[in-house]
């Protein structure tokens, strides 16, 4: 195969060749190539197939706006990704690339049959059909539509790479390292501002990389560039990052940057992340994103070999690749003329420059003629030929506003330029306004909402001189606004290429416009006639046009198609472009890997897993764990061969028979201290607190202001002005926040403070008839006999030599203690108690056993037996409300009409007629199981267990007017059978006299 590489040209390393494969075939490129430039150097233009019509497509651009040259890329297991833009992907040794959306091969694709039926698949066709017969939609049509969808194929393995993220703060962030961005960074950097300069490309320079002939400050462009970069590198306050895309511009100058770290490397260092997300907060932002070149819209503008003129210039000057030997140029802007000249200088033979304008600068025409290039002004283009590569161009003279006779011009590439669009994507993310410039026929930045400057081609400037000056001014202004004394430097530029152009809709044609395939959105196969059809069908908003045709919705997000779509839509609508408007730009500027957003949040560090001080012991002793809020808690401790049921039964028996030990450290703890602590507690909780003696505990119930139960827990009074409040595990943070809210904003006069002590204490519960016997020898400083330390007592003392807060409380119905010791001693205490407990056959139990034991006693679990719709009365907790209290949080809501009405669901016990049957939690309860659906449901089972102690199943349920139904038989219809059960008013199934607890 002939090589299109030009020796000694470009910035690639001609001595370092790199092997890669495309569709299994091996090729050679050079270090510094992109996948696209390397393929072009090998004469390969056909790089992809379009989305809908499967048309053969070649590369169009040299940047992130590429719609066609999308490929699957792979480097070993776990490292495949679809839709990689060949124009951005740098070559690396061994890179494997595969073409997409074709079968069986890129050159011969069965899907291309769609192309012949293209006129059936016009915009919006699927809304109009596939509706009959009705049943065919699910079984036939939709599966076909879905199968046709998509470009590349999904990865199928877990990603082998890691991702990183970083916050950063800077005075000035400059996006884009073209001449404007470089000048801005120099101005701000020299002033001493901290500067971050980023560019999406592999190297900084922007347009300068494609324009080596310009002379800046007396130096050839590339020498000037090297010098500018060296100066920036020498400034400690300046950071330059390449391969870094500013993806989104968020509130108050927060800019997200996606930095690609390893995809270009032959081998990545171990531990190096593949990509990093930077979250940069800048005082000032300078956007120097440049301008995007527009294609021209004409029949056959999508054949492989037809590409943007600026891209061809980039391939030539930056990569040393000639995109063709006999290119034809079609343009509406001066810039493409220079591309032609550069190609001619490099030895190509441009066959013609076709300009839609009737007249252009004579300097251009003179030069063209001098180079032997035919000049055709005031022409239109009406077609191309060639199946997998363009062969000729059909050009017509315009006569009286109409295309005249056609002429075919043979060529091996077509370089088109429809003018340039200032790149204002990031600016638009800030909800800043764009303003239509009538003279330039482009959108320019309008009213801004952030501390931002736009510089260079992004502001419609053309020519390196004006761009440099503009950049320097923007950089200096930004530095000054960030508090630095800055002045804009000046630059002198010679051999500058200034120019201008016109903005077009689709080019006039002499063919049936209904048949022409003049593409606007290449990837999504949107043509000019699709836009016109959408308008004909009443899509009068550009947003409707976009959604009806999918114009601009492809992976380039309209970088190439938005403005052409707008021009055609505005023509069809008979409105001026600014009356039609652009669709909204949204992040990310270029498609960005999910992993980059996820950053470190993966696997073990996906989210915090909170562990108690005793967690390690539980793990070593075979515990099964369950996640509860952010914690992991020991669920049960299976012995070899035991399932959950067997383990839980054994644990329950042990606690009831002798003594069980339980890690309760996750319970929330809040220390409420200060002169007005009692007043505060009175206002927060439903219960009365004033008369609670020091050294005593009480069950506390907390409501939301809407009257529904939010949390509960045992609260101990340590002294007149100090309470040890416990909360549910999941509720701890919420309750503390709620308390702080009331304290700080409603009652700032109260002298009370709240301190979270959840993690200060490890909490170990000992429950069972032998609990005191086990604990007593360890306790110093107090007498824990039944008389001296009764149920609901609390005291500070020493346990096993550790300072402790000892509670006599029970969530099991057994004699019980909860020992709080400073967290660092939790494990030691646990181990001592375990050792000493051997004589009582001590048994560690987990949350499941805790749940069974408490259910036997009818104690509720907030969040399981209550669900955010239950009042204290619904839950049978009226006793917990201080009758004499004038007010507490939620009290007023309890008096609302529907809170006191009949028909509320109340918590009751439920005993199945067959004691062996354990109801399913969540099962629904009805009075009449034979009624038709929808059935009238009375409530549901909230807690249900096999009770070893009772030798039968037990359950709690919320049931409409449940307490009035004491003794009633109700039904629980399951898919396979209906279970009957009796309501018992009391939920206390075990030891209702509380003899065990007060032992």
């Amino acid at each position: 195969m002939t090589s299109y590489r030009l020796p000694n040209r470009g910035r690639v390393d001609h001595r370092k060749s790199v092997r890669f494969t495309f569709d299994g075939k091996s090729y050679q490129g050079l270090a510094g190539d992109t996948l696209a430039s390397a393929l072009l150097a090998n004469g390969v233009h056909l790089m992809g197939r379009s989305f809908k019509y499967h048309r053969p497509r070649g590369v169009v651009s040299a940047g992130s706006d590429e719609p066609n040259a999308l490929m699957g890329t792979r480097r070993g297991p776990g490292r495949f990704e679809p839709n990689t833009r060949a124009t951005i992907q740098e070559l690396r040794a061994g890179l494997e690339a595969t073409s997409q959306n074709r079968w069986p091969s890129l050159a011969f694709d069965m899907g291309a049959i769609n192309d012949n039926m293209g006129s059936l698949f016009s915009a919006g066709f699927y809304y109009k059909t596939f509706m009959w017969p009705r049943s065919f939609w699910d079984r036939v049509y939709e599966p076909i539509i879905r199968n046709a969808a998509g470009l590349g194929v999904s990865p199928t393995e877990s990603d082998a790479d890691t991702y990183a993220s970083r916050f950063h703060h800077t005075d000035v962030l400059v996006v884009g390292a073209g001449p404007a961005g470089l000048a801005a960074a120099l101005a701000a950097g020299r002033a001493g501002a901290s500067v971050m300069l980023v560019d999406e490309n592999a190297e900084p320079g922007g347009t300068l990389l494609s324009e080596p002939s310009v002379v800046i400050d007396g130096k050839p462009a590339w020498d000037w560039l090297a010098q500018a970069l060296a100066e920036l590198a020498g400034l400690p306050n300046v950071t330059v990052m390449t391969r870094t895309t500013a993806i989104g511009y968020y509130h108050q100058n927060l800019v997200g940057l996606a930095q690609r770290l390893t995809d270009h490397l032959d081998t990545a260092p171990s531990d190096a992340p593949r990509e990093r997300m930077w979250k940069v907060r800048a005082r000032e932002v300078v956007l120097a994103q440049g301008a995007l070149e527009k294609p021209l819209v004409f029949d056959g503008n999508d054949r492989p070999g037809v590409m943007l003129a600026g891209a061809a210039q980039t391939y030539l000057n930056r990569f040393g690749v000639k995109v063709g030997d006999r290119p034809a140029i079609v343009t509406a802007h001066d810039s493409a003329w220079h591309a032609a000249f550069d190609l001619a200088d490099a030895g190509a033979k441009p066959v013609a420059i076709v300009d839609v304008r009737p007249a252009v600068d004579t300097a251009l025409t003179d030069r063209a003629r001098a180079l032997g290039i035919e000049v055709l002004l005031g022409r239109t283009v009406t077609g191309t030929s060639g199946r997998l590569r363009v062969k000729s161009l059909r050009v017509n003279r315009m006569e009286g506003g109409k295309p005249g006779a056609p002429r075919d011009i043979g060529c091996d590439a077509v370089l088109m330029c429809g003018g340039w669009t200032p790149c204002l994507h990031l600016f638009s993310h800030t909800q800043s306004k764009l303003a239509w410039d009538e003279a330039l026929q482009v959108y320019l930045p309008g009213k801004k909402t952030e501390a931002v400057q736009i510089a260079g081609a992004g502001r419609g400037l053309w020519g390196i001189a004006s761009t440099l000056e503009d950049g320097a001014t923007a950089g200096a202004t930004a530095a000054r606004d960030a508090g630095h004394d800055a002045t804009a430097q000046t630059h002198t530029v010679t051999a500058d290429r200034t120019g201008s152009g016109v903005t077009c809709k689709e080019l006039p044609t002499d063919k049936d416009p209904g048949k022409a395939k003049a593409f606007i959105d290449f990837q999504n196969d949107v043509t000019a006639k699709d836009i016109r059809l959408a308008v004909r069908e009443g899509m009068r908003s550009i947003e409707h046009v976009k959604r009806y045709t999918t114009n601009g919705m492809a992976t380039d997000q309209g970088k190439m198609s938005n403005v052409n779509g707008l021009m055609i839509a505005s023509d069809a609508l008979g409105k001026a472009p600014p009356q039609v408007g652009l669709t909204t730009f949204r992040p990310p500027y270029s498609p960005t890997t999910f992993g980059t957003f996820a950053g470190y949040h993966k696997d073990a560090t996906f989210e915090v897993t909170r562990r108690t001080p005793i967690d390690g012991w539980a793990e070593a002793n075979g515990a099964a764990f369950e996640p509860v809020a952010l914690w992991r808690r020991a669920w049960y401790f299976p012995k070899p061969g035991e399932d959950m049921h067997a383990a839980v039964s054994r644990e329950c028996r042990a606690a009831r028979a002798s003594v069980g030990i339980f890690d309760a450290s996750t319970l929330g703890k809040i220390e409420v201290t200060g002169r007005d602590a009692v007043t505060f507690m009175e206002r927060m909780y439903t219960n009365p607190w004033a008369k609670l003696g020091v050294g005593r505990c009480r069950y506390g119930l907390l409501l939301g202001e809407d009257g529904f139960i939010r949390d509960d827990g045992v609260i101990g009074r340590l002294s007149a002005d100090r309470f040890h409040v416990t909360t549910t595990t999941g509720g701890a943070a919420r309750v503390l926040n709620m308390m702080e809210d009331y304290l700080q904003t409603e009652w700032p006069d109260l002298k009370v403070w709240l301190t979270s002590t959840t993690e200060q204490w490890a909490t170990i519960a000992l429950q069972g008839p032998n609990a005191r016997k086990l604990l007593e020898p360890f306790v110093e400083g107090i007498d824990i006999s039944a008389e001296a330390f009764p149920h609901m007592a609390v005291a500070e003392c020493t346990v096993a030599g550790f300072p402790a807060r000892l509670f006599r409380i029970s969530f099991t119905g057994e004699l019980g203690f909860e020992v709080n010791v400073p967290a660092r001693h939790g494990l030691a205490l646990w181990e001592k108690l375990m050792a000493a407990g051997q004589q009582y056959d001590i048994c560690p139990y987990g949350t499941e056993t805790m749940h069974v034991l408490r259910a036997e006693k009818g104690y509720i679990i907030v969040g399981q037996d209550t669900d955010g719709t239950l009042t204290p009365d619904d839950a049978g907790l009226t006793w917990a409300i201080g009758k004499a209290k004038r007010d507490f949080v939620g009290k007023r809501s309890l008096a609302r009409p529907d809170m006191v009405a009949k028909g509320r669901k109340q918590l009751v016990g439920l005993l199945t007629d067959d004691p062996k049957v354990v109801l399913q939690e969540g099962a629904q309860i009805v009075a009449d199981p034979s009624q038709p659906k929808p059935m009238t449901m009375l409530g549901h089972v909230t807690s249900s267990y096999w009770s070893d102690a009772l030798g039968r199943s037990i359950a709690m349920a919320v049931v409409v007017d449940g307490r009035d139904r004491d003794g009633q038989t109700l039904h629980v219809p399951m898919p396979d059978r209906t279970i009957t059960a009796k309501v018992v008013k009391s939920t206390v199934f075990y030891d209702p006299e509380n003899t065990r607890i007060s032992a």
Partner: protein, 170 residues
Amino acid sequence: MNAMTSTLAAGVTITELAPTTRIALRLADPATVPGLSLPTEVGARSADGSRTALCLGPDEWLIEAPEADRAAVLATLAGISAPHSAVEVSDREITYALEGPAVLDLLATGCPRDLARMPVGSGARTVFDTAQVVLTRETDDRFHLTVWRSFASHVRALLDLAQRELAAGL
């Protein structure tokens, strides 16, 4: 051509510090406390010998002292006559010392604050990843990070990841 000029440099050491005495002190008016100089600006820290008081909020200080001084500190605080709250939280949290030239980069992997602007000798409550932490700047390139015990292993795992990433040099 790879223009990646940045202040990144490898090398941060992460050390878990031995327990100290920590008290969460709350009171309305710091002037009412004899024997303790309490700074009034949020983030400021004062030192009395081996005891330090870091102002975390307008009415909140974190008092730190060596283990051996625990009783003495508690006694001092018990002597405050104005309404106040002193709660020991020595065991609530774990402190890591992070030290090295790249310490700011290390912290920037999880902390959204501009820590370059944090003066040596001051501190703040902030976040690292999703965990609330207290950071103090001990020297230019040494920070102490204090985090609730159950969050510590998560924070530590992230710090270790970041440390390896810094060492990889990209």
